[in-house]
Symmetry: D3
Subunit: 239 residues, 6 copies
């Protein structure tokens, strides 16, 4: 049973904008003990399959510093293989943030979202999406200030939160210790209308019922609502 | 609009057991034009993190032959990188089939599920899970016949099906052409109690409502129910 | 001593054309228990060294599914190295089938021959060449039907067979068990005039005399003659 | 000509200890706009060549986040090659910090120093050594507090600073803009007796005289003296 | 037509023993302008499949310096792929020299034959085998002198030579210019009884008759006979 | 204590020009038992960052044959990683020889310096630079003879030598046995005015004083002076 907060509450979120000076958008997001640097950079070209399409693209990369977890992890380059968990996560981040964009309004350019986990305590993929959205917003603002785009290609806010069943209880925003013993672990990516962008969940041991799914969706909606408010406060009137 | 079948129907499924002579379990599964060879082999050791735990493991690999799709794909080895879509899929297959097993009853051995797509027409990950379950079953049966295990570690049936929104209509079991234009694309992995093992869905363009989610869950339950019946017929009294 | 067939006989060969629906040519060849999928695809460009030469090219790739042999093999991508035996074999397949083509008549395009061994019981490189030739023929026919070439660039049939010395006896078309204990193991690639395209043989233990070589060449000629007849029957009047 | 500080002065240095919660030593070092996270972790084994020698080891890894520089850099893993500049730098860091240790007093364990550059503005290798030394100190302190070592294996302080010739003038502690146009660029690693541990310098255009070398050594000694004072203040009485 | 020597003659061969001081056997072999360093080293263990078998092993590696040919070649490591021609050749060298050894008499140790081509002018694989045999001989002699083996495990001499059809004429020992326009190119590995160890030949354009094959075998036998004499002279009474 | 020569003397140097027939410049340099082949080749293009700059480039690669040292080393390609010591050395060679060139006079072409160590006995990086300079000179001469350049882009001679402290004594040009026990090991790259191009030194155990540094610089200047004389004699009047 959680002792530091209620099962339906999220951890403290802190968003530091303009964290690094070089990228077009740069955010340090802290959710409890989880800390992720989300940098958005703009490249004036697109992957081959979009050349001459008039459309832009967004892609994401996710990585953890070797010491971001309890036990040091080897760097990907030392095994010459991109960590398969990271592959799964960066595909999720890419799809999620791409859904926020009108790719035609963006024009033929690519936004790279680099999410580097400095310290991990559960929920790093959700933090990457939530923080990555702000970095994306700031990069788009910069394109706009520089006159490179005239209409805002951002269609809606995007945020993510986890929910799961821990010791039989449905909990929101799982920290690492909870996550590691969760029976069910789901990640919800949603927009500011509280519609779903991505749902991804798994029950490693056993299975979960339709009812449980409904309860988790309820909880996630409440959480996303709070998180998007925090995003809005962070951005101020800029959107 | 579908012309060859109703939007809530699944494609014809054919399961050929003992397809290859060497592996402990070997299945050719055909779902419409999608054809996947699912081979289950048994290794008498476990990954390091399970040594001396008394528990076994199940892992999966997924790959497509270069000519399995409309346009020939390069082999992973020629770019020295495992295709990132394949990474995501094989992690899904592994988690899904692992959920069918009591890993302590399995004992300290590893089941490898190799899913090789010979011909792809949508739904290859679902076909891999559905066919992989039969291969897993047959490998377990062989362990049992050989006296290596005494209790059946398989806890339940596992099958998977996709659902999505195509041209505004909710459809079950999407073929490639439907999938490539779907607004929402979800994959449901479920057991024979129709509880969820894994839910994975994404809306590349836009988002989808709670109602839509509910309808897709309804449709998926019906589909899984039919698919598990086909699995049961394929196995006969052996379970 | 062989019990199931005479030492100068070949195993049963079955050729299934149009096995996969996407490639221009697709063949499943079964020789005894050996099963190989041979797919031929056409690319409208050539390697750099042939650009603007007016000549085309043919290249081959050879791979085995992990469960194609008694003991599961790791995939190449997991060690980041292309299996060295496969390298040797795919170079042989490429040279052999290239010899069947008038590369100027083919024009500046590349034929890829993908040979994927589903089940291996000896003779997989020979099966790949024999089956690959039919896939090549079918791909060329399609180019011709589509008006992309006007003259047939195929100069002759190509087929391959192994011969070897097993327990002191010269045998044709070795199955795996024979091959693994053979003193000499040769592969002959020949055309329909029974001239040689490639000869490749080795004596891991000891050496073999000129006489033995002569006897193996005699046996191979007889075998190739039968195999090319089977190829011709498979194609019918199409050549 | 420098406008913000004199040519013989160093930039502002800020050292934040215990930056990340998991590693045994964790430091964020900021030198001007350069920011590096230096994490020291302890592994209870040694490389093969030291097994049963009674001696420990120290090794370092150096990397930059993709957005740490003006233009985004691709991650090493995407090219499957460790950046050759990083190889050179991490070998330098390893040799430099190893020189601070009595490897026999350390015992058969390995200290990993991970230097991850968050933001680069010149002098990242020097910052890594200077900050890495504090992380190393903190990791050793933790070993000592935990009773794993009884004598302090740290023999001396280690710090590093760059010197170079910019527009004909000898400057200390070059920022990126200076470094990129420097005629000579040297890095000095020294201890608290102001003896040399490593000297590494290069003149890409032309060469430099013995006199210039002497002046740079003078300047470096003064700089190191200040930097080691800052290190001492950061540690307090703990050493 | 050859102008510098008759079509049935071999080029001048020079064998320098003890070329490099460290390996157990070290030979520089020069055949015309082709120069190959062949080093034989001994490792006191065997590959896994031979552990506790009482048998030894021999393996070979073949590589060319980047500047060994007319146009500089990239190093394998820069593309992260072992050159496929080198793979084929080193497998040939390994099989050929292994055939010279009684692996049980060798005992559980591995001989590595490293063949590094310094300058290539055709026939590098044959030079590697011919020179590698002398390096192997010298390594075995050293094992014997050191009392590590008591019986000579070398069963016979091994040498190799190429033959081919150039401008319609059958030629022995092809130089690069001849090789590059040869209609047929065969490599013969033989022992001192003039029995065959390996035959490897290909007709890239067209095919060749049984008669041509016979003539090439005649020519190769004469060539091998001369080459083995040169090997014998090089070794002196030591064998 | 050195017995074969005085502590301030260099080993015997032998320079063989035109060693390999294909590259524009080719040198075998022997310094004591150290033997390095240095080949210089010219490519008529430049790296991307110099396209349309009017400037040329020089790059170096350094490698050791597997048997160049006491114990056989695995080839880089077998671990898919370029040896990190080699990375450091080839960067040093590249910077050092680049400093000899006026890159604008060279024009938009690239010189590749390949340094392949045949036999290593200490000082291989210095031998590579000293020998590489002669190969560079010869390649430039060839460009000049072929009318591709009209002014000599070589600004000065470049040579390198090591100095170190062995058993408390300062020594010049360390052989392997000395190097492996040296307390300090420095490499000096200098030109014919005896100015410094690169200084690289390290004290793995402990540190060294300013005085020691001065003495090593003195010794190095004397050594370089002798080595450049040998370079000049080797080239004759050609410069």
């Amino acid at each position: 049973m959680r002792t530091d907060r209620s099962s339906d509450s999220i951890r403290k979120i802190s968003i530091t904008r303009n964290y690094i000076i070089y990228p077009e958008g740069s955010v340090l997001i802290e959710i409890g003990n989880t800390k992720v640097i989300c940098n958005a950079t703009v490249e004036e070209n697109v992957p081959n399959f979009l050349k001459n399409s008039g459309k832009g693209w967004l892609t994401a990369e996710y990585s953890m510093l070797p010491c971001a977890t309890h036990k040091r992890n080897r760097r990907d380059i030392s095994s010459l293989k991109l960590n398969s968990r990271a592959v799964e996560i960066q595909r999720l981040i890419g799809r999620s943030l791409r859904s926020a964009l009108d790719l035609e309004m963006l024009g033929e350019r690519t936004i790279n979202i680099d999410c580097d986990v400095i310290q991990a305590d559960g929920g790093t993929r959700c933090a990457s999406i939530t923080g990555g959205f702000i970095a994306l917003h700031d990069a788009i603002s910069k394109l706009s200030r520089n006159g490179l785009i005239t209409k805002n290609p951002i269609k809606n806010f995007v945020a993510a939160v986890s929910a799961g069943i821990v010791d039989g209880e449905i909990c929101l925003d799982l920290a690492y210790e909870e996550d590691s013993k969760a029976e069910v672990d789901m990640n919800f990516v949603m927009n500011d209308k509280l519609d779903f962008i991505e749902i991804q969940g798994t029950a490693e041991n056993g299975a979960f019922s339709r009812e449980t799914m409904n309860e988790m969706m309820d909880l996630a909606s409440e959480g996303i609502s709070k998180i998007i408010n925090i995003q809005k406060n962070s951005i101020g009137d800029n959107f």
